[in-house]
């Protein structure tokens, strides 16, 4: 990954940590243990692999209402895929093995099986495994064929363009979800430009995804709501429109906040991804309208993983 060059050195003193004019809050992102898997979708060309991946990993921004968080990890050349065709590797994260298995089967069944020319393979190993094509094979209505190649079982399911090839199982990984940082900027356009740079940097980190649209969240949430039915509601302390009426975390000059949420396969991947993203934002710096970097947490009581921003950027 290309490292962003930061002109100004990191300044640490009584005033806190400032990198390239960006104040780094003395806080941490609170992340959670999640279950994850990686799958590889191949097709006759990258366009159709992307179509399948975009559908399968779409509507997967937050486990709050999507069931899982998912995204494209990287694109693969024909030499990197099991069947020698171009492909896409994607990661799916969920709060439980059961939910992950359910989401995986639904998404592959409705979005990959249905997509012309595609095939799907396991993209990871794990101590435990999840059904991938194991149950989807019954779509073949008895005409499905099994193949055992190098100790791995595949299902050939007849479909109207030939066959849908699916590996029977994929690996289950213990992973980390919900790593985040907040970009506080002088305007919305400047916050967005910095976040786009951060998402580009995170996209180059293996084992990490930013599951929200374009990798960026504008609706950071807090736990709970005045309405009993809602588990989460708007993070009013970071809403610029509520300054003056609600308790605010916004310093003078901050007119917009955007958040980047990251899910990663390992704790180390999360640290690399967060650093890559924050380095990119700091590279833009105060000259680009960035005022502060902060993070979302729940007081440290809910998540097993705490990522201190200053420690990661040190």
């Amino acid at each position: 990954m290309r490292r962003q060059q930061i002109d100004s050195p990191c300044v640490q003193g009584e005033g806190g940590v400032i990198i390239n004019g960006v104040f780094i809050d003395d806080t941490y992102a609170e992340a959670f243990g999640m279950k994850a898997t990686r799958i590889v979708i191949t097709a006759d060309n990258l366009t159709w692999a992307r179509h399948a991946a975009n559908a399968a990993f779409g509507f997967a921004t937050s486990v709050i209402a999507c069931g899982c968080e998912a995204g494209i990890e990287c694109e693969l050349s024909p030499t990197e895929t099991p069947d020698g065709r171009p492909g896409v590797a994607g990661l799916l994260f969920a709060v439980s093995t059961k939910e992950l298995a359910k989401q995986l089967e639904r998404r592959v069944g409705q979005c990959v099986l249905t997509c012309p020319t595609t095939a799907v393979f396991a993209g990871c190993e794990g101590e435990e495994s999840l059904p991938l094509g194991k149950n989807l094979r019954y779509f073949g209505d008895g005409w499905q064929m099994s193949k055992l190649i190098a100790g791995r079982r595949y299902w050939r399911i007849p479909v109207m363009d030939g066959e849908f090839l699916a590996e029977e199982m994929t690996g289950l990984m213990r992973s980390v979800g919900g790593g985040n940082f907040l970009v506080l900027a002088r305007s919305r356009s400047r916050a967005l430009a910095a976040c786009e740079a951060a998402v580009d940097a995170i996209a180059r980190v293996p084992g990490a995804i930013a599951p929200f649209p374009g990798g960026v969240v504008r609706s950071g949430s807090k736990v709970g709501s005045k309405y009993k039915a809602l588990p989460a509601s708007t993070n009013d302390a970071f809403c610029p429109t509520l300054r003056g009426v609600a308790k605010t975390e916004l310093s003078p000059g901050v007119d917009a906040v955007l958040e980047i949420v990251i899910d990663a396969v390992t704790d180390a991947d999360m640290r690399v991804a967060m650093k890559a993203g924050m380095d990119a934002v700091c590279g833009i710096g105060a000259a680009g309208g960035i005022v502060r970097l902060s993070a979302g947490n729940y007081g440290g009581k809910l998540g097993q993983f705490h990522y201190r921003l200053r420690e990661i950027l040190a």
Binding site: P82, G84, R85, M145, S146, K147, I149, Y154, G162, L165
Partner: protein
Amino acid sequence: MTTLSLRAVPNGRVDMTGVLPETLAGRSADDIAKQIIHLAGSPMMLGDLFEVDADETDMLVIRTDSDRLDCLGKGMSTGSVRIEGPAGHYAAQGMRGGELDIHGDAGDGAANGMMGGLLRIRGNAGDWLGAALIGDRTGMAGGVVAVEGNAGDRLGDRMRRGLILVRGQAGDACGARLLAGTLVVAGGCGTLPGSGLRRGSLILGRRPEAIPLSFNDSGRVDLSYLGLLHRHAESFLPGLLPASTQAHRYMGDLAFGGKGEILVLA
């Protein structure tokens, strides 16, 4: 590397059962020479027929210029055996793991009842390669067989699982009564390919003279599975399968359920 060098052509068939890396490992040359084998049904010591040179590794080399050594690698589960010369009948019979590499031809019944591991035959193979053990209902049930040359009749008869790759031609009734698994013959085959085939895939590099009448033509199809198989086969016999995923498919044997297939790549 433990080396057994055949002193002279034996005057009968030699049953080499039990001469395996796992049984010879850690033993001295003198001890190995006392291993009992059978010549024409009569017991004798290994040292009577072979010069023995032993060491600590699990690699066994058998140097022979006779095709009368039967049951080489029979029941083998680990380690590596290289046959420098031809092998007799029933090589790799019931093999479970490890690698048996025959630098020459193999006789009949090789890989009968094989369950795992890798059998390489650099020359030609005889009849009944990968078929069932005598009296068994199913043939080869796992592992990989890679043949550089030709194979005889009834290749993969009653095969249950696993992969057989043949660069040359196969004889008659190739893939007959195939239960499952994959059989690839790049050079074409004789009459009645896939006769009695239940499931599994018989993949032919050349169109046979006739497809049995109990197979129905499914036409030309595109199978991404072939891309997967191509990549796997490259590690055993490079260039055996084309990179193309196009094949002409015939489904059958309709007299036996019709769930199997003959794929003609040409």
